[in-house]
Every structure is written in structure tokens, then in C-alpha cells.
């Protein structure tokens, strides 16, 4: 059996989603938190279902999700597309992306978004003066890459039923890390089409699998709200191992002693 316990300590800390997320790695100081607040001041609002940035655009800022959900997607010339990642509050969309000339993928808003637009200068200032944040950001990028590997495994090897179950658990845990769950529930704004695009299934297949997951008492999904009656059971079913999310305070050696 893989390890299925997750450190819940982050649920008891208050702060911005990004501070909560980085806190899953290491304990930030007040000065660290203030620095994160400072870079979150330039806010862009994107309406639901609109693109935040498109493939081919020249990236000028680092985006930090403050509110809402977004999807990273890639397209084929014939119009077929796949959602290759999801962003929730506290997630950066590609640190250092501004060193690239153009975006190799698009990011679209699932819900109305509030996004902090961080300049390269602000990022430099942050990483030069706040070494603990710098380490936490490296952790953030490693977790993003690990999540991408898990998604690849998900689409390649899990059954349709498990793929969806896995996606529900992952998002639930990611939202819990940033304080956006209530007991066993959370917002879940993805449509069945979005789920299909994120799991490589057809909408019809997704619809059937959701019925099965509901029938088996694993999820309750109503009006964009998810409830997971038994988290351990859903983890078992989806063969979920939370190790790739690295939520167990691996940066304890860096903890602020404030």
C-alpha cells in the first residue's frame, strides 16, 4: 500500500493562497509573507472561459493565481485540444516564463479569475532578497513537474473511472493546501467537457463514469460543488499516492523561527 496520509497542518494557518501553498514546504516569516503580498498588487481580472494568454504570445509577466481556476491547454492544427494542467489559487503559471520569446501553450479561465501580474524585475527582487522564498519557489516548480508526470501516468495507465477519481482527489488536496475546502467538500467548476479534455476521454464516457462514481458513493457532484464522503476510499480506488504533491513540509530545515 502506498502512503496515503497527508499532513494537514496547513489547514490551520491563515494567509494568502500562495503563502499557504509555500507553507506546505517551509514556514515563512512575516517578511516573506509581506514580500508575497507586495508582488500580488497588480491584478488582472479575466472573465470565465476567456484566455489569459495564448500560444504564440510573448510572455511579459509571471502569473500568480489569486482567485478562480484556469486550465493550461495545447492545440493541434486540426483544432483538437487537450487540457494538460489546471491552476488553482496559490499556483504560479510558469515561473521565469518571461525568458521565453513565445508561449508554447495557452491558458484559459475556467471561472472568473483574479491573477497577479508580476514583472521580471519584481521576481528578481524577490529571489535576491528572500532566500527562503527562492527555495520554496524551486519546490513549487518541482511539484509542478511532478504533477505533470502524474497526469501523464493518469492518461496512459489508469482506467477512465480511476482517472476521474484521481483528478477529484488531486484537486481536493491542492485546494485543501490553500484553505479552500470545507470538511470533505470544495468548489469544482469543471464542466464534463473540461473533464473529458483533461483525461483524454469523450464527454459521453465521462458522463457514464461520473454516474458510476456517484452510484458507488465515491463522489457527490452537484452545481459545481464536490463532496467526497470517504477520502481514503477514493484514494484507494484511484491508486492515489500523494507523494508527488510533496505536502509534507520537506523544507523544515528552512523554517522561519519567528
Amino acid at each position: 500500500m502506498p502512503e496515503t496520509t497527508v499532513d494537514l497542518s496547513t489547514s490551520f494557518v491563515s494567509g494568502s493562497p500562495v503563502a499557504l501553498k509555500l507553507h506546505a514546504f517551509t514556514k515563512l516569516s512575516d517578511a516573506d509573507r509581506e514580500a508575497l503580498e507586495r508582488i500580488s498588487k497588480r491584478v488582472r481580472v479575466v472573465d470565465a472561459r476567456r484566455d489569459l494568454i495564448n500560444e504564440g504570445d510573448s510572455p511579459t509577466h509571471v502569473h500568480l493565481m489569486l482567485q478562480g481556476w484556469a486550465a493550461r491547454y495545447k492545440a493541434l492544427p486540426d483544432g483538437k485540444r487537450q487540457i494538460v494542467g489546471l491552476f488553482v489559487p496559490g499556483d504560479f503559471c510558469d515561473l521565469n516564463v518571461y525568458i521565453l520569446n513565445q508561449m508554447d501553450h495557452s491558458i484559459g479561465a475556467i471561472t472568473r479569475l483574479k491573477v497577479a501580474m508580476i514583472t521580471p524585475e519584481e521576481m528578481d527582487e524577490l529571489t535576491s532578497n528572500f532566500p527562503r522564498i527562492t527555495q520554496a519557489l524551486l519546490w513549487h516548480e518541482l511539484v509542478s513537474a511532478a504533477t505533470q508526470r502524474e497526469w501523464l501516468l493518469n492518461v496512459g495507465q489508469r482506467t477512465a473511472y480511476q482517472r476521474l477519481a484521481h483528478l477529484f482527489i488531486e484537486l481536493y488536496l491542492r485546494l485543501r493546501t490553500v484553505g479552500l475546502t470545507q470538511q470533505n467538500s470544495c468548489d469544482f467548476p469543471l464542466t464534463q467537457n473540461d473533464l473529458a479534455d483533461a483525461t483524454g476521454l469523450t464527454p459521453v464516457h465521462v458522463n457514464r463514469m461520473l454516474q458510476d462514481l456517484r452510484r458507488d458513493g465515491l463522489i457527490e457532484l452537484e452545481r459545481k460543488h464536490l463532496r467526497i464522503p470517504d477520502i481514503e476510499r477514493l484514494m484507494d480506488v484511484s491508486m492515489f499516492n500523494p507523494n508527488y504533491l510533496h505536502l509534507n513540509h520537506e523544507g523544515a530545515y528552512l523554517d522561519s523561527n519567528e
Binding site: R49, G79, S106, A109, D197
Partner: protein, 123 residues
């Protein structure tokens, strides 16, 4: 089976570059009984899809990434296919020749879209 649906069996071309929105538009049209052609993310693809196909109506976003474009609209007028402009927040001034075309302002709901497409008279 789909008897009585407002867009039953009608072939509707969707031209929209914002993928998530395009997905919603297709879903709404299909739920209303339409057969969706597309979604086409750009003019080139839209014109390709129009070739040799029976298209009853179209929903066309004017802004396909690089500012307003009317290539698809012109082609639709040529082929006498009725259509709706789905206009964005970055609303451009619509040229005189297309001024009479019905518009639907984003963000719109599925019911508004279906009603607007239904109101298009068959050419």
C-alpha cells in the same frame, strides 16, 4: 428522438478562438439539437470547413486573436449563410456592410445563443 428541439438537425458552423468558450457554445448548440461544424479557431479553418458542406447558419467571433477579421463573414454573405456575430469585450466597430447582422454580446448564456440562432431565417 430529438424531435421538438429548437435547432433540430441544423448544421451550425462555430468560429471562436477562445477554446473554453467555443466548447460551451458547441455544447449549448448540440443540446438544442444542432449539428456543430467546428469549432474553427481561425478564419482559414473556418473557410476550409465551409467548403463543400451544407451549413445552415454560423456563430462567428470577430476577434480571432490578431484583431478583428471579416474574412469568414464575407464568405458567409457570399454563400448566403445567415450568421450571428459573437462580439467580445474588445468590441471593434463593425464595417457598414455587416452592420445589419445580429450580434450577441459576450458573455452570453446558452439560452440566449439558441434563441438568437433560432431567429436566423433560413437563407
Amino acid at each position: 428522438m430529438s424531435d421538438g428541439l429548437p435547432l433540430d438537425g441544423r448544421h451550425i458552423l462555430v468560429v471562436e478562438d477562445q477554446y473554453l468558450l467555443a466548447r460551451d457554445v458547441c455544447e449549448w448548440l448540440e443540446a438544442a439539437g444542432a449539428e456543430v461544424i467546428g469549432p474553427a479557431p481561425n478564419s482559414g479553418r473556418a473557410c476550409e470547413l465551409l467548403e463543400g458542406r451544407n451549413v445552415d447558419a454560423a456563430v462567428v467571433d470577430i476577434n480571432l486573436g490578431n484583431g478583428p477579421t471579416y474574412e469568414v463573414a464575407s464568405r458567409l454573405v457570399e454563400r448566403k449563410v445567415p450568421f450571428i456575430f459573437a462580439t467580445g469585450y474588445d468590441q471593434a466597430v463593425i464595417p457598414a456592410e455587416f452592420e445589419a447582422m445580429p450580434r450577441l454580446e459576450k458573455p452570453f448564456r446558452g439560452t440566449d445563443l439558441v434563441r438568437a440562432v433560432q431567429a436566423l431565417s433560413p437563407a
